[in-house]
């Protein structure tokens, strides 16, 4: 088994009397896609902030053995740069100018935005902006992507498209991903492991594994079962019997 790219060891975070995380243990291995779901305000984004190094834990340790890149909920593209220039910023580690230009074109083509290289972000739709942001993140040399509700500001149809798009992009440009989302269906369609968090202070209540290969449809049996199970865990699905049936075949830890 590969060594973890990211490891939280009894990580604790408190802001004065407010305890956000309590002794969280978490490992993410190379190539994994891990989704974090949980009640609003439980500390999901805080976990990403700790993972990226933006916050430091009050106690415990967080080890990263890979370069990290965040993809944010709100627009992280620089609005004063064109889409092409934004993607090129992600290629700062490439010294050769011609190679940078080649890779910029390659990543823009990957997200189907080649005709929009000279457009500014405000001239694109929300979905196109998210695709550009993904291109910039993938263009970097970071092997760990931390995604904080990246599609939450999109409309439902655009969200569905972006899920499929992300699954396709990861096929072509494999990365290790930690995704924070409040969309249980999105987590079940994309992740290898869904970590269900408790109320604050967050701890992992349960880990749901999904074996089916991506892309997964929302109607796939595995996805439906996982969604029902997670909703029940979060107290949003009261039909225990349905949940018990749905749980059959799911690997739960």
């Amino acid at each position: 088994m590969s060594a973890p790219l990211l490891r939280f060891s009894r990580a604790r975070l408190a802001f004065g009397p407010l305890e956000v995380l309590r002794e969280l243990d978490l490992e993410v291995r190379a190539g994994e896609f891990v989704a974090l779901v949980g009640p609003s305000g439980c500390g999901k984004t805080t976990i990403l902030n700790l993972a990226s190094g933006w916050l430091a834990p009050t106690a415990g340790a967080i080890d990263r053995s890979a370069g990290v890149r965040m993809v944010f909920q709100q627009d992280g593209l620089f609005p004063w740069r064109t889409v092409g220039e934004n993607v090129r910023l992600g290629l700062r580690h490439v010294a050769d100018e011609a190679e940078r230009a080649r890779r910029e074109s390659e990543f823009l083509a990957l997200v189907d935005l080649s005709p929009f290289a000279g457009h500014y972000p405000h001239q694109l739709s929300g979905g196109m902006r998210q695709r550009a942001e993904l291109a910039r993140a993938l263009a970097g040399d970071a092997s760990l992507l931390l995604m904080d509700e990246p599609f939450s500001s999109l409309d439902y149809l655009a969200r569905l498209r972006m899920r499929a798009e992300l699954a396709r992009l990861l096929e072509e440009q494999p990365r290790t991903v930690v995704l924070v989302t409040h969309d249980i269906e999105e987590a079940a369609q994309l992740a290898d492991r869904v970590l269900v968090l408790s109320e604050r202070p967050a701890r992992i209540r349960e880990e749901v594994r999904l074996q089916a290969p991506r892309p997964r449809a929302a109607t796939d049996a595995d996805v439906v079962r996982a969604v029902h199970h997670i909703l029940t865990l979060l107290g949003l699905e009261s039909d225990r019997e349905t949940s018990a049936v749905a749980r059959g075949g799911l690997e739960v830890r």
Partner: protein
């Protein structure tokens, strides 16, 4: 049908042409009302000159060369004072915007000086710097510097933190962070402030030249008043207004730079 389509200018050009015509409506109405009032002789000609008298005054000032000399003198003072205030005000604003310590230490002082009318400095300006360019430049600086500092500081403080997080991920720091993130992020806001402070500077230079000048459009207004040449006074006022509008149009041009359009189109 096809011929009709061919004969039409592109929509953008049509719109610009229509805008130009509509923009002339206000000045034409104003001059017409002015001409009617002057023709009605409600006030003596020596107190209320007609548009024709002012146009003649304008021609006299222009052909004598004085109008150009005065306009150049005023523009030099405004440009120097304004550029000085921007060159020093933007860095100070950056410091105040980024450093809570600097904000706490200096913001009350900036607000204090901002509340002082620049015209209150006129006696000091004359005592310290005499007559001519230096006092006018000093007064323009005092008028523009503090608004530029405050506005830049506010713009920096309101940059979304997500930009700094992305910059950190991308390895941008120090000078690169300043040139590639901070300055472009505040550019639209700063350009708007420049428009406001350029207008303010133009107001101040006229006032400063009235009292502490030997030339310039403000001095020309004062000189015309002393010589009871109300036509020349009004002619200089017209020129001051036209240059003020032209200055603003130049700065509006900055808002058309593609990399700052995002700040005006959200």
């Amino acid at each position: 049908m096809e011929a009709t389509h061919r004969s039409q200018a592109p929509p953008a050009r049509r719109h610009a042409r229509r805008g130009l015509w509509i923009g002339l409506v206000g000045p034409v109405v104003l001059v017409a009302a002015w001409a009617v009032l002057a023709a009605a002789r409600l006030f003596p000609e020596s107190l209320f000159p007609s548009p024709l008298a002012v146009a003649r005054g304008l021609a006299i000032e222009a052909t004598s060369g004085r109008l150009w000399d005065d306009a150049v003198a005023s523009l030099f003072r405004v440009t120097t004072g304004f550029l000085l205030s921007v060159a020093l005000g933007v860095p100070c604003g950056l410091l105040l915007g980024r450093s809570p310590w600097a904000r706490e230490a200096f913001l009350p002082l900036v607000n204090f000086f901002r509340s002082l009318s620049p015209l209150a400095w006129i006696p000091f300006a004359i005592l310290w710097l005499g007559i001519g360019d230096p006092p006018a430049i000093f007064l323009i600086f005092m008028a523009a510097f503090f608004p530029v500092v405050l506005s830049t500081a506010a713009a920096v403080a309101s940059i979304p933190s997500v930009y700094f997080r992305v910059a950190r991920d991308l390895g941008l720091a120090g000078g690169e962070l300043l040139w590639q993130v901070t300055l472009p992020a505040i550019a639209p806001h700063v350009i708007t402030t420049l428009r406001v402070t350029a207008g303010l500077s133009w107001l101040v230079v006229v006032a400063a030249e009235m009292i502490a000048g030997r030339d310039g459009l403000g001095f020309a207004v004062w000189d015309a008043r002393n010589g009871l040449r109300i036509d020349l006074l009004a002619a200089n006022m017209v020129v001051i207004g036209i240059i003020g509008v032209a200055l603003d149009r130049v700065l509006v041009g900055l808002t058309r730079i593609p990399s700052v359009r995002w700040g005006y189109e959200r």
